[in-house]
Subunit: 383 residues, 4 copies
């Protein structure tokens, strides 16, 4: 990537003590498609500037607030083109709104917003501003997830029947938020995270993955949310049933109190003629069982893959591409769209990344789960 071809990126959030900000920066850098030109890395101006210095950002373009940054950057000829929003959830909406108003493209972490109203508003704002708006449901960046989606779409497993998805972690099995750990603190605070706890933080990832691979969104859900750690204000375990148009059924489990699991996102999809299984902790592998035949282990870079998987593969089979690479693929895809947008073109049809529409879908899902659970575990329409 010629440096001149790189997308000029700014970042809001992601200062010292954050986790996901650093991941976004590496992901943006990996394929040499972006250059990070500015940032408002913390809502605390001192912390923002200290964070900027630490990562070598031009001090002149380290801003004390996002409003300041948007105002300054929109007037520069070399100003940022897109902003990565990596703040706690409650700030996604105001920052994205301001960015769209200022004419910037947006790459926003998930969940898109803390209410359906906000999320719907962002869809409208993005359309009005005619800006690209990506939401980093990063697990859809894995090549074997794309392979799975392509196989379902091509009919390799036949008519969809059952979707089993789960996302299990253990890091919140105790009251970590009480220790002041920053990641735990905001994720368990409804005023920053929204009304969903585990269902919002990781359940929304599981939901997106299920929709992305199956190629469809459930019509109805029914949820039982629980809080096992005393004093916690949000759910830390979620059991959800899914109903799809056409009769397919699903289950979703999200838990942050499941000892023995680090980041165990796992999807299984069954159709009339076959089944698929993928696990995030072994991302280069995809199990495929065609009806009446032995199970096959498809691997990234290996034989039998579709172009959808092959085009986002960097290194040969057996040289594992992990979490950062999957995340980077989302960034690389968005960069392709952004470079097309420079020339008022749309990206090539194969370019694929989650958009504000997927973001809305996720927020609706979280909202429906909270409502279903509160109403005694009732079916709620999603659409």
């Amino acid at each position: 990537m010629a440096a001149t071809g790189c997308v000029r990126l700014g970042m809001v959030g992601g200062g010292q003590g954050a986790f996901i900000g650093a991941v976004h920066r590496i992901a943006a850098r990996l394929d040499d498609s972006y250059v990070l030109v500015c940032g408002a890395l913390s809502s605390d101006a001192n912390r923002a500037h200290a964070s900027a210095a630490e990562i070598g950002l031009d001090p002149a373009r380290s801003y004390g607030s996002y409003t300041e940054m948007f105002a300054a950057e929109r007037t520069r000829s070399d100003g940022m083109e897109a902003v990565a929003i990596v703040t706690p959830n409650h700030l996604h909406y105001p920052v994205a709104r301001a960015a769209l108003h200022a004419g910037f493209h947006v790459i926003c972490d998930k969940p898109l917003a803390t209410s359906v109203v906000e999320a719907d508003a962002l869809v409208q704002l993005a359309a009005d501003a005619d800006r690209i708006f990506a939401v980093t449901y990063n697990y859809s960046g894995y090549p074997m997830v794309r392979q799975a989606r392509a196989m379902v779409a091509r009919g390799d497993i036949g008519a969809l029947r059952v979707v089993q998805v789960e996302y299990a972690q253990s890091w919140l099995a105790g009251p970590l938020e009480a220790t002041g750990q920053k990641q735990a603190a905001w994720r368990t605070d409804p005023s920053q995270a929204g009304s969903g706890g585990a269902i919002g933080d990781i359940g929304s990832h599981a939901f997106h993955l299920a929709c992305f691979v199956s190629g469809r969104v459930p019509e109805q859900i029914l949820a039982d949310l629980s809080t096992f750690v005393a004093g916690r204000k949000v759910d830390d375990n979620a059991h959800v049933m899914l109903r799809f148009a056409g009769g397919a059924r699903g289950m979703l489990w999200a838990s942050q109190v499941a000892h023995g699991h680090d980041n165990a996102l796992r999807l299984r999809v069954y159709g009339e003629n076959g089944g698929l299984e993928w696990a995030q902790e072994e991302p280069d592998r995809l199990w495929f069982t065609p009806s009446g035949q032995p199970r096959q282990l498809l691997t990234r870079g290996g034989p039998g893959l579709y172009p959808e998987a092959a085009r986002v593969t960097r290194v040969p089979a057996g040289h594992l591409e992990g979490y950062i690479e999957g995340f980077a693929t989302i960034y690389a895809e968005v960069a392709r769209a952004l470079r097309s947008a420079r020339e008022n073109a749309v990206a090539a049809p194969e370019v694929m990344f989650p958009t504000v529409m997927d973001g809305v879908c996720g927020v609706r899902f979280i909202d429906a789960c909270v409502k279903s659970s509160a109403a005694g575990v009732r079916w709620i329409d999603l659409q």
Copy 2:
């Protein structure tokens, strides 16, 4: 086991074309605790005698019906002591009832009966007759399942929080019953199998396993049963939520249309201080994660096991004990109780096998799932 010490066993069902009858016979034989002395191996007398000849049963003790057998055997000094009932489900009740009336101990396949009324009646009959009544929820015979139960009971994972259990198969993904395959035919015929399909045939196993290991029975369940194969009269996929007293929650998935799975019964139990994971297809292994420590892989015959697991172990670690051995352990445990009963004693406290009470519990579970699903997926009290 001295031959004279062996329990004299009769069998009802299990003739040519059956699957589980042969398993019961091997299981009974494995530890040399039983001798099969008689049988009414089919409801068709000719088939019964042909089946008896095939397995070398004394022709004089091959009977054309169970009523005939019970009448004849009760008068012999060397008559059978216990009967194994391995018929399709709808016959469990009448055969068990007749056996108890005739004074025989009973070893009955699951589910115990096709209605709660029948199941409750058997409890009463067994109590009145003062006979041992075992139900072959065989998966509780595996040493590592017993280890898991012992760990939960001893508090190794702390207060129970989440139970995830699933039982996935693929053999009924197509309309196998339409081909005349005997196993498929009766299991999908409500008049023989009862109202539950997958939920009855394998969901009840999953439910028992969850109860056995966690040491408790859910208070409420909520179920969504589906039938994916056109024309099938019973469910072939079941999604169930579980609620336990004290706040623990669970999910159960049973499917016979899940391509890629042969007999994938898997249980995960999470408590405040740890987690456990066991899978039937790797029965000698049990994953244990104590809070804040690395995952441990406990193995049958390996270090760190409790006496409950060690006492039902036959061969050293790494020499896999499989399905038949687990089944045989149930038979061996029942034999210990039967030999105690000969002397009007109760078995040693460590002897453990599923009884008619577990059988009732399973029938109630199936019944509740059918009702919940029919009522629009509502919570149903189990107890």
Copy 3:
């Protein structure tokens, strides 16, 4: 199996404190093909009788020595037909010799003998006596091992190139023999075990497995035997290279000091057009990779198996058949041959079990390894 059709079996060795004797008895019983009619279960007559009482053997047919047993049984009309020899290694030869002289068929544990001279003599004796002589290389009884052999034989992986076989255990990582543990004591005593330690006890199993699946015996071997536990008189770790006619090459590793392994026998075979992988601790699975295609996981009872595997399968896929079942298959195969022999017929061509010829081959292998290592790790001709 009609009781009258059962083979009448006697046993030498396998008394209290033994491991493998009990395994042989269960294996013989599992498929209802044998009845254990007599035994000389220990070289100590008191221990022999106590052991016999414990397992319920007719006291009149519990013998104080094998010579006594052979003399008595040969004169009975209902006398034993075959003898299972499950003593320490050094007794295999004299017992087998006496059994053949007395006209009995022999089922002998491995290794066949403690010297090549003895082993060769048994071949001759068996031929002269026209008796069946099986050697329990039990791992060749697993259905998926038979599948692997059938695949190689049919050319599914093409011309043989590389064979990697290993057998790792940890139970002798410390000086267990110094504690008086009986299994460890005789296995590390050259006067009872022969000159090989790990190479004899488990290396010979690995070697047989490699030969059985590949369908050929190496021409040359080169071995480096080590003893890591101070004071031990035999090797506890063996590294071996193999050269086959036609250019194929192999490696064999046998160790009893490898922490983390219980009974980790594993075979991988590579040909010009494909590869196979099997591990004893997951015996129902066989990995097959045809050139240029995804890996396939074949399972016992699953699709795509050859008759050689299907005919020795008892229960459906996913219902694991373990160590005892594999061992029992050897016994069942021998029973088929023994029943044919009753009628002066040879067994059906598909009946397959390791014979005295395989036994000789194993003894030659052990002998060659010991010699190669002693000579500074030189190539030794095997044949």
Copy 4:
């Protein structure tokens, strides 16, 4: 990393059609420690410039040859500081030699050279020039490999006994070089690759990994090299025995004809008190078995890790770090040393990367294997 703090890197080789050049560039970029300022990306000048344009290199600093590059860059105030050499093997020596003469630090792919004489010369040249010289045995960059090394060094498994290492691939199972595939072509051409085929390309990686983790270099090796693909000029399968001072023993298998394996580097190390197992295709996991205790699964980012692993970890447990991250860690470590060197300081003691000394060790190993095999599989002293 402030841009001004970044190391200015040049590259020789890695133009269009290359594999490893792109990996080096991503690895250098990932942690923001380097800026690629110049390159001589191909020995063909046109191809070099086209490749440079493709990756966005300043055309003024795209050179037609490495000699030209070194001459030009040494005179610039912003000239490159270090050169990455990613050519076929036979060019490592002349390029590295020229780089050292010109005063540049060197990061060279493995194997270091195609002869021991060349390799030894580079050690001397690096010392004379007082330059940092890294060799990219990248697998030592994985956190769990560093954990394993730290555990051995701290005595967690006790005195070393057995080392089993293997590196299996399948991509050269057929005559790929005959199709003109560039990677296959030079790797199987002794004039470019050196005398070793599989033993040089991947066996040297396996050897380094074994040495790195065990903390020691074998004293003697014995090798049997084979060529299975007709017409191939180098080995494609290597079987090696290892002898360490103090009595430890090892085996190494390297193969590029092993169907079913993509990049299956695997190491197992056993000591008196424990065992370790690591596989490159599951790099975030390390199995540890302390004597007499259950196996433990240590994971990157998880509990129980030493600082050596923790300091090279980027993202939390369960968010897999793969091949590129491991490679990037080597680059990041070298960058730390290079920045220290700017100030005439040595890097902090925990900074760790393979140096020219490891490079020499690898070349000696390859040379010894070729000689041992040619001499009829004899022991050869390594040191």
